[in-house]
Amino acid sequence: MEAGLHFRNVSKRIRSKPLVENVSFSVYPGEVFGLLGPNGAGKTTLIRLAVGLITMSQGEIIIDGHSLRESFSQAIQRVGAIVETPAFYDFLTGYQNLVHYANLSDRVERERIDELVERLNMGNYIYSKVGTYSLGMKQRLGIAQAMLHRPSVLILDEPTNGLDPLGIKELRETIRQLAERENVAVLVSSHLLAEMEMMCDRVGIINKGRMVSIRKLADGDVQNRWFEVDKADQAYTVIRTKYPHAVLAVTEKTLKVQADPQMTALINEALVQAGIAVYGITAESRSLEDLFMEDTENEISGQINLE
């Protein structure tokens, strides 16, 4: 069985207008995957597809080994989600709303509701009518709703929308906890780059309905590093025998290498042993914002070139 959430060449067209084109990505258990893109990029559309609110024109979505199209019930059973702003029954209390959603799933005990109310700090207002809630309170209730049935795939559309700084911090911790301790596959969307950087393991950058690139967010791990040496061509041969694919670019005196810290040390050692003078090693520090701008701009200019 293929656990997690998998998009395979998914397209969605409405009256031949493409909203999403040929998108493929996977969210594995224990991982937080971010969908990042400007307004109107197609993040919410991807999420609507993932929960079956809209049908795909092409492709396949697999959730914990079940095809969403062919066995909707089994697939969706494993998913908890918020799509856009969470909407509730204003005339019911928060607790009644949760009972209502619990009734829609199999095997959700009352204790689970109480547990979530406590975990998300909603004790003060859970017995008030939802009509009186603020946006952030509703967002929390939405997250509780999504977690009720202990999903193995959690999908949250702009989950920090409307939360105060403390709420954002708590949510981030909750999400990391779910991924790391309970092995949940989490898909979040946002256009807030800083948010994504703090919360995600990988991000997929979406622009105009296309997946432009998928990036692993370096937590000091794999990063591009510049080696400054006296003989770059010799250094290139040395590194290539050890790591065939690590070198990305070579100039007269520098090499651009993709490496984690351990690898960097080993490469340095090998170079010195080969009699090459290493003048310096610099890690390329690029924020997600740079990556994002770069990728979306490439995409835009790429499209212009085609025309």
């Binding site: 989600a81 856009e84 009644q96 209502h100 829609l104 799933s105």
Partner: protein, 260 residues
């Protein structure tokens, strides 16, 4: 089975916690009592207990009005509020949600109809306690065999079918256009002008299958048998086929559409 019960309970949760539903129920009860009092005041001398109960069954009209409103709201509201997104991403599935929603409206109306029936029985019993024990029909020779109780039960059953038809129309429009105003407005329009259109249309050829020839089902359980063009079986057949078509249209729309 258990899950179905929980889904129906959900619909009641949403119905009964709304002030407007409670006001409607209260209004309905007040109307029924008021009409009943009026009725007793002007017609104090019914031929018998069961006939009084039967003739008061027309009050189910108010339940029908409420059914149209409830059925018109039950889908459109979820779209209006945006709660449909949460409803459709659970394993219950769209077909079952649709079924439960129509079922919940019918069950609720059936409950109200039972309340009406019991109220009518009790209040009439207060006025003429001796009549209850007399199961005979006032005009046996016309009705052939059969008891008065049976007749009243049949009458109420047919009232329930009438309610189901108008609720079904409203439900279908609600599913099609997701608008409460359109669903209730159009249904009341049909309720008003449907039978008139049926008269204009006549009963020849295909016109005889026109739904509104057959919606006045209570005529088939009258004390004094009147000549009718169709038999009860024919009318029930036409009505049920229409209901199935309405439900089918609602089903296609509800299960196939993209929800944004």
């Amino acid at each position: 089975m258990r899950s179905l019960a929980r889904l129906i309970w959900n619909e009641y949760l949403k119905m009964i916690y709304r002030t407007s539903t409670l006001v409607m129920c209260g209004g309905l009860m007040a109307l029924i009592l008021f009409s009943f009092a009026l009725d007793r005041w002007y017609n104090p001398f019914y031929t018998g207990y069961w006939q009084a109960v039967a003739s008061q069954s027309w009050l189910s009209f108010f339940i029908m009005v409420m059914a149209v409103i409830l059925a018109g709201r039950i889908i459109a509201d979820e779209f209006q509020w945006g709660t449909i997104k949460f409803l459709l991403i659970r394993p219950a599935g769209r077909s079952r949600i649709l079924f439960v929603k129509y079922g919940a409206v019918l069950c609720f109306c059936f409950f109200l109809l039972m309340v009406l029936f019991l109220c009518s029985m009790i209040l009439n019993w207060i006025f003429q306690p001796q009549g209850v024990a007399d199961p005979s029909l006032p005009s046996k020779e016309e009705n052939g065999n059969g008891s008065a109780v049976g007749m009243v039960l049949k009458l109420y059953a047919l009232r329930m079918v009438e309610i189901a038809v108008y609720a079904g129309i409203s439900f279908m429009i609600s599913a099609l256009f997701k608008s409460v105003a359109l669903a209730t407005g159009l249904t009341f329009f049909f309720m008003l002008f449907g039978p008139e259109t049926a008269n204009q249309l006549g009963t020849s050829g295909f016109g005889s299958y026109f739904l509104f020839h057959h919606t006045g089902l209570s005529q088939y359980a009258q004390w004094n048998v009147t000549e009718s063009v169709f038999s009860l079986a024919e009318s029930l057949g036409v009505v049920l086929i229409h209901l199935a078509i309405f439900y089918g249209i609602a089903w296609i729309r509800f299960t196939k559409q993209d929800v944004f």
